[in-house]
Each structure stands twice: as structure tokens, then as C-alpha cells.
């Protein structure tokens, strides 16, 4: 002990004489990080092979433009204009001349190369810290050529994770309801697409009304509401095989389905005699459980990621508000107390926030609050918007927005939009038709 004190004193003395000046840096710019995405280099033979298979002239630049687009849309990165790049892609991948990249203000650099190996697509990429002059990561992927878009998304996920410290959300898909036709006779189909809008496919033909599709945790099953034979019921669809089934055997409308975080149950509402209650059905043993018991509308249930709690909206207080209860239905607690009406609570993948729709004074808002209802933040305001769904990393929300019909009966549209948890980076997600009720998948690869 004595020794320690002596050491301490001797240590203190030199410090005193230095009196290190401290400066607190509490602000920075929230400008997106300047990144140079050098086109992936490709040898001529590989290029020709891929041109034959994929009908793409240069698959290397196609993949890098996917990465570039993903980074730009994330709002966290600013991919720089390729015209300013001084170094050839193949040489940059071997050894970047950091001074050159520094000159165009790139802080990170992505390089790589594509080759045709045993009828497969092989993509190698490297991420460089330009200012430090260091390689930050290097990975290679091999897959069937048709998977080339996914390779672009996976590269983006890796880069995103390395530069932001959290997992990406690019190798994901969106399931949503594609809409067409006049408002009074809207035709709705289930549709699925990549997160960036590519590979859009319709899963139903639009013969019956379909609503609110949601992925299971492995993103291979979807639960949704279909008016097949004019009986609104919750269905389960295996998107691989196309098999469908009705969930449970309820003598009335079931709706508002979602999976439990382990994927083993579906939670939904069942409406009977003017009263909607929340039920679960176990997909393995088919056991149905009634969770709520109140003569009011209880709907839009959503599990916490640990499966221990359920949030839902209910009008038991007189108008629509958000409540949280334990997963067995006990300890119901109202959490929304702001002005207006609150609905569609969705628990974030991180578990710390609940996203919701709010209606106040004729405007609709998408917002988030903590799970106890504190810290409400409204991210976006509009004429009509609802139904937020979280990106798998809990950083972005996707929702749908409808526009007003004007006095001439025109102007109505339904579109998908996304916004950052920060409230920045609001963007329309383009779909071939109108769209609504989006649900974001989990990361398809890990």
C-alpha cells in the first residue's frame, strides 16, 4: 500500500507540471462519409463468360453500382463520382495510391475483382481506410452467377458493419401489398422484392383482397390476411413451395397477424360479435390461446424480441392507444399518453423502442417511443401514413403513405417510404405499382 502511494505521488508530480490541455469536441458533421467505390475489375475472359450468362456487359461495374447505390440510399455514405478516380480498378485493388484517393476526399475506398471460376461467380473485395492508409477488411465470395445482385448486397452489409459498428440490412427483402386500380375497387396482390426494389415478383394474382403480409424470423414464411371466398382469415404462405393454409379454425374474421420471435406462433386478432381480442396459435401443436379479454377493440399485436411481452393497440380507454402486456396477457399497461390516437405498435429488433402510427389533428405521424412510453419522437408527418416495419438492424423504418384524392377524384396513390431512426433520410421505395403494408425480412445471409 505504501509503495502504491509513493508511485502515485511520483506519477502525479510530472503530470502537474504538464497540465495537459483538454478540448471537448461535441459536434461534428452529420454529412455522409465520402466513400470511393472503385469498379470491380474483371479479366476479359471472365467478362465475356458473364456477358453470355447474365446478359450484362460488365458484371464488375454492375455489382459495384449495387454497392454504391446501397451506400447512397443508406444516407450514411456519400459515394464519390467515378469520373474523379485516378487509379485503374485492377491496380487499386492490389495497392491503392492513397494520396490519389485522399485528393478526391475519399475517406474509405472499396476495391475488388470479379472472376469466372468453375462456372461460378467469384467476387473479392477490399475495404481501405484512406486517411490511415490501411486495409480494413478483405473478403471473397463464390456463388452461382445469378446471385450477383446478392453479392453486391452482402458486400454492402460487410462494409456497413465495418464502418458503422452495427449489422447492415442490404441483403434483405420486402414483402408488401401491390395495389392497382381505382380506390373503390382496388386490386391487391402480395408482392416480394429485394430491399432495393429489384426482382419484384407477385405472389398472388389479385383475385381476392390480401392485406398485411409479415415475414417469419427466417423470412421464408409469410402470414397475411386474405379475403379468399369472402372469408377474411389469417393465412400462412411458404414462399418456397407456394403452399398455403388457413391459420386456426375461427368462426369469424381473423386479422392483424404476426409471428412470434421464435417463429413458432402466430399472434393475431379474432373479431366476434363486435369485439376483437388477441389470440395466439402454436404452429406445431395447433393450440389456440386467448390473450386479451376486454369488450373493446384489441388489435395490432407485436411481440418484444425476447418474446416476453406483447404490445398492441386498444380503444379500451375510449380511443385507440398503445398498451404493453406480458406474453400471457397479464399486467396490461397503457404506454401512450401523448395527444392524439396511437396505433400499430411494432417492437424494434433491438428491443429498446416501439415504432407506432399516430393521428393528431388530422395528421398522421410515424414515431418511436421507449417501451415504457417515454421518449416519444415523431419522425415524419403526412396526410396519411401508417404501418412501420423495422429493418433487421433496427436503424430504418419502412411504412406506406397515401395521398389525398383531390376534388376531381384524382391524386390518390399509395407508396412505400423509408426513414432513418434519426428522422433523416426519408425516401420513397420505388415499386412497379402502388404499394402498402411493407414488411422487412431478416438478413438473408449472416
Amino acid at each position: 500500500m505504501k509503495n502504491f502511494i509513493i508511485i502515485l505521488i511520483t506519477v502525479l508530480i510530472p503530470i502537474k507540471s504538464f497540465a495537459l490541455i483538454e478540448v471537448d469536441i461535441t459536434r461534428g458533421n452529420l454529412n455522409p462519409l465520402p466513400v470511393a467505390v472503385s469498379p470491380l475489375s474483371i479479366d476479359e475472359e471472365s467478362r465475356k463468360n458473364f456477358e453470355k450468362i447474365l446478359k450484362k456487359k460488365n458484371i464488375g461495374s454492375e455489382i459495384s453500382s449495387i454497392v454504391e447505390n446501397n451506400l447512397r440510399v443508406s444516407g450514411l455514405f456519400n459515394p464519390l463520382n467515378k469520373d474523379a478516380f485516378l487509379q485503374e480498378p485492377d491496380i487499386a485493388n492490389l495497392k491503392p495510391r492513397f494520396e490519389d484517393w485522399n485528393l478526391i476526399k475519399a475517406q474509405a475506398l472499396i476495391t475488388g475483382k470479379v472472376s469466372y471460376v468453375d462456372q461460378k461467380l467469384r467476387v473479392e473485395f477490399r475495404l481501405w481506410d484512406v486517411l490511415a492508409g490501411k486495409e480494413m477488411m478483405a473478403l471473397a465470395f463464390t456463388t452461382v452467377p445469378n446471385n450477383w445482385r446478392r453479392v453486391g448486397h452482402i458486400i454492402t452489409d460487410k462494409v456497413y458493419e465495418r464502418l458503422t459498428g452495427e449489422k447492415g440490412y442490404f441483403d434483405t427483402r420486402i414483402i408488401y401489398v401491390a395495389e392497382e386500380g381505382p380506390k373503390t375497387q382496388r386490386v391487391k396482390k402480395l408482392a416480394i422484392m429485394d430491399q432495393d426494389g429489384a426482382n419484384n415478383k407477385f405472389l398472388t394474382l389479385g383475385n381476392e383482397l390480401v392485406l398485411t403480409p409479415r415475414f417469419n424470423p427466417t423470412s421464408q414464411m409469410v402470414t397475411y390476411l386474405s379475403y379468399f371466398r369472402n372469408l377474411p382469415r389469417v393465412y400462412l404462405l411458404d414462399i418456397e413451395t407456394g403452399t398455403q393454409e388457413v391459420v386456426g379454425d375461427f368462426p369469424g374474421m381473423t386479422f392483424a397477424p404476426r409471428f412470434s420471435p421464435d417463429g413458432k406462433k402466430i399472434i393475431m386478432s379474432f373479431a366476434k360479435d363486435g369485439n376483437s381480442e388477441i389470440y395466439t396459435m402454436d404452429l406445431e401443436n395447433r393450440i389456440v390461446e386467448k390473450i386479451t379479454n376486454h369488450p373493446s377493440i384489441d388489435t395490432s399485436p407485436s411481440y418484444s424480441p425476447d418474446g416476453k411481452f406483447i404490445s398492441f393497440n386498444s380503444d379500451r380507454s375510449g380511443y385507440q392507444q398503445i398498451y404493453v402486456m406480458k406474453s400471457d396477457g397479464s399486467k396490461v399497461k397503457r404506454i401512450s399518453f401523448g395527444k392524439g390516437i396511437y396505433g400499430t405498435p411494432v417492437w424494434s429488433p433491438r428491443g429498446d423502442l416501439i415504432a407506432f402510427t399516430k393521428l393528431h389533428k388530422g395528421k398522421f405521424y410515424i414515431g418511436v417511443m421507449r417501451t415504457d412510453g417515454s421518449g416519444e419522437r415523431l419522425l415524419t408527418e403526412n396526410y396519411y401514413q401508417e404501418a412501420p416495419s423495422w429493418s433487421p438492424n433496427g436503424r430504418v423504418l419502412i411504412f406506406y403513405r397515401e395521398t389525398k384524392t383531390d376534388s376531381k377524384g384524382k391524386g390518390f396513390s399509395a407508396k412505400l417510404w423509408s426513414i432513418d431512426l434519426t428522422g433523416y433520410n426519408e425516401r420513397q421505395v420505388t415499386t412497379p405499382t402502388d404499394g402498402s403494408d411493407p414488411s422487412w425480412s431478416s438478413l438473408l445471409s449472416n
Partner: protein, 249 residues
């Protein structure tokens, strides 16, 4: 309880979809419908799972923790990868990718160590052990610090250079303290992260990202806008980068 199975026909599912969706979810081993199964198996004969591997697999072992790879080394490494690639055993399944990726992560702290500085100073070490002392001491020497206008000039400059990574968790401790040694013209001769032990802690990945962004800001801002006089006062300088205020608001 009976569950009415709906045949494909009443639902009118375009058959092409179920086939085309297969690749995405191939990692799940759900039994397929007989019809789809045939097609899938055909496809699977031709394809292997998406494989990723760390490009330089042997890098981890080859480099000593403190070594800074020289450019020449890098070229050699790349060549080495090429050799590795020709070995078909390297192309494996996804499990491999995961473990390789973890190796990459484990390796990273070395990269960082190189990023921070080539050598460590005993002085800074003591500071690290008694992080509160420097602050307490500082109060006794307020008059020897930078003037308000001097401090503002420096702050304003660094604000412009620091791109705060927007993806950071907003409810964590987001303070990175960096000690600098400066030349009279404001260029940085040494920079050291004072809490850099934290960077290797599990679950603190965001801290590394933040620290790297702070180091980039300093590099980008060189030479720092330092006062024209009193070099002795500020030849050593500590910058406390705190992103909380920005990310919460």
C-alpha cells in the same frame, strides 16, 4: 382441429415464383413440395451455396501484433491469396465464412494498434491508468489553457472534419479521448487513444468505429489551427470526442 389446405389453383400462385425464390432461402432446410423439389434439386446440382472467405486467410498468423504492414508486404499478400483461391478446398460452405469473418474481427485490434501509433508512451500509459487525474489537475491550471477564442477556432476546425458515424447507438457512452503531440505549425506527430483497451471489449464494436472516425478527423484537419504563440502550453493536447449530443438530438 382440421386445417383446410388450399391447393395452388384456388390461390392462383404463378408457379414460377416458388422456383425463383429458392436461392434466397436456400440455407433453410424445409421440406419442399414434390413438384418444387425436383426443380430445386436440379438447380442445386449446379450451384453451391454462397461462399465467402477471408481473402488473406493466413494473414492472422503471419503478422505480429505491432507490425505495420508495408506496401510491398501487401502486394505479396494479394498474390498469396490468389494461390489460395486456386485450391478448391478453400471454397467451402457458409459455416466457414462465419469463422473466417470472426478471425478477421479478432485481427482488427492489431490494425487499430497500428492506426493509433507505432509506439506507446509511458506517460500516456499513466494517464490511462488515472483518467480522472488529468481532468482534476486541469482545473488547477485553467489560466494556462487555451483562451476561449483559441479553443473555439480549434473546435470549429475539427467540427468540420469529423464525420460522426450516424449508425452509432445513441444511448451508449460515446466518448473517445485522444492525446496528441503537435509541432509548432499544428501538424500532429503522435496521436493516441487513451481508452483504447475498450476497443477490444466484446459488444463495444461501435467504440472502435467512433475512435476510427475521430482519428480520421484529426488526419483530415492537419495542420490543426493552433495559437500562433505559447507552443509550450499546447504542444501536448487532449481532444475529447463526444458524439452523444449530436446523436441524441
Amino acid at each position: 382441429m382440421s386445417l383446410p389446405f388450399l391447393a395452388k389453383k384456388p390461390i392462383d400462385l404463378p408457379p414460377i415464383v416458388s422456383v425463383e425464390l429458392i436461392q434466397i432461402t436456400e440455407k433453410t432446410n424445409i421440406p419442399f413440395a414434390p413438384k418444387a423439389k425436383k426443380i430445386i434439386e436440379k438447380v442445386k446440382e449446379k450451384e453451391k451455396k454462397l461462399v465467402s472467405e477471408q481473402a488473406p486467410p493466413k494473414k492472422v498468423k503471419k503478422i505480429k501484433p505491432d507490425a505495420v504492414p508495408m506496401p510491398e508486404d501487401k502486394v505479396k499478400k494479394v498474390e498469396k491469396i490468389k494461390e489460395d483461391k486456386q485450391n478448391p478446398e478453400k471454397i467451402d460452405n457458409e459455416v466457414k465464412q462465419v469463422s473466417e469473418f470472426e478471425k478477421e474481427e479478432l485481427f482488427d485490434p492489431n490494425n487499430i494498434a497500428a492506426l493509433i501509433d507505432k509506439s506507446k508512451e509511458s506517460k500516456a500509459e499513466t494517464l490511462k491508468k488515472n483518467p480522472d487525474l488529468s481532468q482534476d489537475q486541469n482545473k488547477n491550471f485553467e489560466n494556462t489553457g487555451l483562451s476561449l477564442s483559441e479553443e473555439d477556432a480549434l473546435k470549429a476546425q475539427i467540427f468540420g472534419c469529423w464525420s460522426i458515424p450516424l449508425g452509432l447507438p445513441y444511448n451508449e457512452n460515446l466518448l473517445v479521448r485522444i492525446k496528441l503531440e503537435l509541432k509548432p505549425d499544428g501538424s500532429v506527430t503522435k496521436s493516441e487513444i487513451l481508452d483504447h483497451a475498450r476497443m477490444n471489449k466484446p459488444g463495444q464494436g461501435f467504440y472502435k468505429v467512433l475512435a476510427e472516425s475521430a482519428l480520421r478527423a484529426i488526419k483530415l484537419c492537419q495542420p490543426l489551427r493552433v495559437p500562433s504563440t505559447g507552443y509550450e502550453r499546447w504542444k501536448e493536447l487532449q481532444l475529447n470526442f463526444d458524439a452523444r449530443e449530436m446523436l441524441e438530438g
